[in-house]
Amino acid sequence: MSHTAYRTLLSRLFVGACGLAVLVALIPLAFILFFVVSQGFQALNLDFFTHMPKPVGQPGGGMANAIVGTLILSGLAALLAVPVGVMSGVYLSEYPQTRLASAVRFASDTLNGVPSIVIGVFAYGLAVLPFKQFSTLAGGLALGIMMIPIVTKTTEELLVLVPGSMREGALALGATRGRAVFSVIIPAALPGIITGIVLALARIAGETAPLLFTAFNNRFFSTSLTQPISSITVQVYTYAISPYEDWHRQAWAGALVLITIVLVCSMLARLATSRVSRLRTR
């Protein structure tokens, strides 16, 4: 076999292998989407968004309380994670070489790898046990802790991408270092940071484990921060392991709503990112 023929063969083999790998990666996604959409769509109706769960045995009803609960829990998580994460990210990009920065980076990476159930247990010990009460706050705390390292990492990565010439431009006009960071560098990276926050929100909105023994669940509509609250994920979990046909259908509908939220967030994020990179390449 000639050298060229050998190379062509090798090249085809690798392209084929890559294609196969892509297929293997896409098949589960396709199956998940197919089942969730086909099963969830049948069960989805307006009632699902506007009605409360019905007592066992009565068909119909919806997840209005869980949808609101997920929104509130995600909002609380963002309230905790955005300031802490963004400020940590700013610190890491401004003082990348310090000991504290290495420590923060290590802690953040570790926290990112901690299983979500463990974070749930931690929040349980911190915010449930002392008050002997499951609560929205405890759930928000657990989700917020999960979100911090993601926001920190994205913020750091995006700030580092801002060209050093921006900082120099600001300093040369008489800006202090802090001023340059807050008036030029963060705004330059802001679209990307917001994208990162949206993606992080989509990610934590899909968490179940940290909520199981923090926010717990609530059959009733609640917006109280000190009471247990329902969430789409926990509700899907509860319904899915139940023996009732009707609840199974509701679980599928909940899954569809969740996946839709995640997809829409990712798409919005992608759109924003492509616009940012277009700005940056100029």
Binding site: M166, E168, A170, G174
Partner: protein
């Protein structure tokens, strides 16, 4: 001043207006006075015993091969190198007689008085208006909306950009062409009313027409500022400057009136460089 010099592409023909100006060179007041300045990046010495003066309302050009320390020297004059860790300055640099490295110097105020334009234009990802207003806002030089708008317009006019952008000052600065972006950066520097304007190869990334506009601008601005410009383009130095400093490997080889540097340099090295024998 509205009349602009016709730019000779070769030497020595020069517009008489420039020549007349030049005869007064020796009488102008010294604005920037550097004595025996050395600069270190860590252990590496990048500048060695530089002494030179830049005069008010004159353009001083720094020329020399790449890596000879032109940018480093320029950046010692607004203490821009302070932000690079491990750097060190020896000797003295005075502006209006005041040692800018004295412990009581307010670096922020120094940088307001000594404006800088960079090699690669670096507009902020904000509107044209906000770019120019930036220095005014952070230094709280003027605070009323009307005054800020007035200064922005005045600065854009000084930078010969107003006519091109007056209908879209609230559009993103990043949509401007390269030459316009660089003039915007000049306008941004002018807005805080510096006395000294440092320019590090301001036209090196621009096409010939944009370059010519920048040169015309420099010529017009010198009646109000002390301008120091780094350029790797010798024709440009010859066209725009009154004094030229030739740097080589971190040393100042020769510093004289531009005419002399290009027609009758004292040093063989300078002659070799300006005649294109190396570099």
């Amino acid at each position: 001043m509205t009349d602009v010099p016709t730019h000779a592409t070769h030497l020595p023909p020069r517009p008489t207006v420039v020549r007349a100006d030049r005869d007064g060179v020796a009488d102008a007041t010294v604005k920037v006075d550097v004595q025996n300045l050395s600069f270190y990046y860590g252990a590496k010495r990048a500048l060695e015993g530089i002494s030179l003066q830049a005069q008010t309302n004159r353009v001083t050009a720094f020329i020399g091969p790449s890596g000879c320390g032109k940018s480093t020297f320029l950046r010692t004059l607004n203490r821009m190198n302070d932000i690079i860790p491990g750097t060190r300055v020896e000797g003295s640099a005075r502006i209006d007689g005041q040692d800018i490295y004295a412990p009581n110097v307010d670096v922020v105020e120094l940088r307001r008085r000594v404006g800088m334009v960079f090699q690669k234009s670096n507009p902020f990802p904000k509107s044209i208006f906000e770019n120019v207003a930036y220095g005014l806002r952070i230094n709280r030089l003027v605070t009323s909306k009307a005054e800020i708008a007035e200064r922005v317009e005045e600065s854009l006019r000084s930078a010969a950009l107003w006519d091109e952008v007056k209908d879209r000052v609230h559009d993103s600065a990043l949509a401007l062409s390269g030459g316009q972006q660089q003039r915007l950066c000049i306008a941004r520097a002018l807005a805080v009313r510096p006395d000294v304007l440092l320019m590090d190869e301001p036209a090196s990334a621009l096409d010939p027409i944009a370059t010519q506009r920048i040169e015309e601008l420099i010529y017009r601005l010198k009646s109000q500022y002390t301008i120091i410009i780094v350029t790797h383009n010798m024709q440009q130095a010859a066209r725009v400057s009154d004094h030229t400093a030739f740097f080589w490997m971190g040393k100042l080889v020769e510093f004289d009136r531009t005419e002399r540097i290009f027609t009758a340099p004292r040093e063989k090295l300078t002659e070799d460089y300006v005649t294109g024998r190396f570099g």
